[in-house]
Amino acid sequence: MTEFKVEMTNVKKAFGPKKVLDRVDLSVKKGESLVIIGGSGTGKSVTIKCIQGLLVPDSGSIKVDGTEIVGMSERQLEQINQKTSMLFQGAALFDSLNIWENVAFGLVEGKKMKKSEAKEIAIEKLRQVGLTPDVANLYPDEVSGGMKKRIGLARAIATNPELIFFDEPTTGLDPIMSDVINNLIRDCVTNLGATAITITHDMSSVRKIADRVAMLYKGKIIWQGSVAEINSTDNPYIQQFVNGRAEGPIQMEIKS
């Protein structure tokens, strides 16, 4: 048994001529909460999609629970994905299903649970993300963007996965609801023992959720350390990002 849940070594991924990931090395211990920070479009979403096999890296190795997943067959990947789940940046709710069916989807289709049983769990998960049972029968196009995000979160945690990915969980939420969500993510790790990989721009989320922080810049992990270290580090990139300054070593590519 390895102590790592996820190990990425030398992972490269390009779309056409555009190199998005250029030798990413990153590992996450079991039961740890890792937060990935970095500017928009630096490939954070691409990184976690590679770990789930939704995108196939051009080269490099990705191990989940010690098993190499690059080049794995579709069926084996399905086995691995049984233990993981994801909150998508755009929520990615199924428009053809109502809210509780969305939340219960992994239980009904993935775990073959009875519908009535799954519905109860779905309603409980909705409550945990601050939604009342009366939204359960609405459809995704009838709820606000912030609600979609929370429903996506409820769907991601419904199956009690071992490894959960949260792609910008608090973007578009008000500060109070953000805090509820941060607590919930922290709770998944601390009380349920899950391993979490979260992407966020929100420094208050970082401080609340993270055990460890990694920063992605120009296709590489340029810094990683514990959450306490982000305040004390003299790394200019981290300082600039944490304090949100336009001036510094990170040059935003502004195209006119």
Partner: protein, 256 residues
């Protein structure tokens, strides 16, 4: 210049042909492996078979009518009731029934499938399926393709009856033929190969329409515009392929 662009077009064509072949192989292999989603299959069968009935009925009705009229005026020098009845019967069951029904279904169902699956692709719902341990081929593609293969022959059978009825209406009420004679002639000319060749064609067309609809949707990218062009491609490609394969199927059945 010319060589370069010809080469590019050729390469692109070869790549999409390869992609389509791979997509077909995957779909077919998932057809025979559980789990099976019978409820989605039923929904798709209703969508294709039931909701396409009005357009198919209308097109075949008027085609039957116009064939009766045209064959009477064109062949009137040696026309007899027998000729009109047989021309209507042959053209409808062998050619126009299957081709028209398939073209209508391509416009209605193929376009819809491309748009629906394309939207699911660009909003990451297809990725979400994978992360919830549900294979998108089994859940989305297989039910649609099977429904096309099963339901188009049924539509065509109904269209045949309505088309022949259209010819009958014109023959009796406009051309003043004797009703009993006309029906007897139709019946005497009718051979079982007319019907089952038409239905076999319909099955092939059902496969073409649903496969191209799903394929174009599944591989669409780039937001609303990508979904739009996926829809157009699905309809154009399947219409062309229907007409081309119709020729070869006719040759297979009738040319000796």
């Amino acid at each position: 210049m010319i060589f370069a662009s010809t080469g590019r077009v050729t390469l692109k064509f070869l790549r999409s042909t390869g992609e389509l072949a791979l997509f077909m192989t995957k779909t077919l292999s998932h057809c025979v492996k559980p789990p099976f989603y019978f409820k989605s299959l039923l929904n798709q069968m209703i969508e294709i078979g039931f909701y396409s009935l009005p357009v198919v009925a209308l097109t075949t009705l008027f085609s039957g009518m116009v064939i009766a009229l045209q064959s009477y005026s064109g062949l009137s020098s040696f026309s007899s009731e027998g000729v009109v009845a047989s021309v209507v019967e042959l053209t409808i069951t062998r050619e126009l029934g299957p081709v028209l029904a398939a073209l209508m279904v391509a416009g209605r169902v193929g376009a819809r499938m491309a748009a629906e699956i394309g939207t699911m692709r660009v909003t990451e719902q297809i990725d979400a399926l994978t992360t919830l341990s549900t294979n998108p081929y089994k859940y989305l593609i297989v039910p649609r393709v099977l429904a096309g293969i099963f339901m188009l022959p049924v539509l065509v059978l109904i269209g045949d009856i309505i088309g022949i009825f259209g010819g009958y209406l014109i023959s009796i009420y406009k051309l003043d033929f004797n009703s009993a004679n006309y029906l007897r002639n139709t019946w005497n000319f009718l051979r079982s190969i007319d019907i089952y060749s038409g239905m076999t064609k319909a099955s092939v067309f059902g496969f073409i329409v649903t496969m191209l609809g799903c394929y174009n949707g599944y591989h669409s990218r780039g937001g609303a515009e990508g979904v739009g062009s996926a829809t157009t491609n699905a309809v154009v490609a399947s219409s062309i392929l229907i007409l081309v394969s119709n020729y070869w199927l006719t040759e297979l059945f009738f040319a000796r």
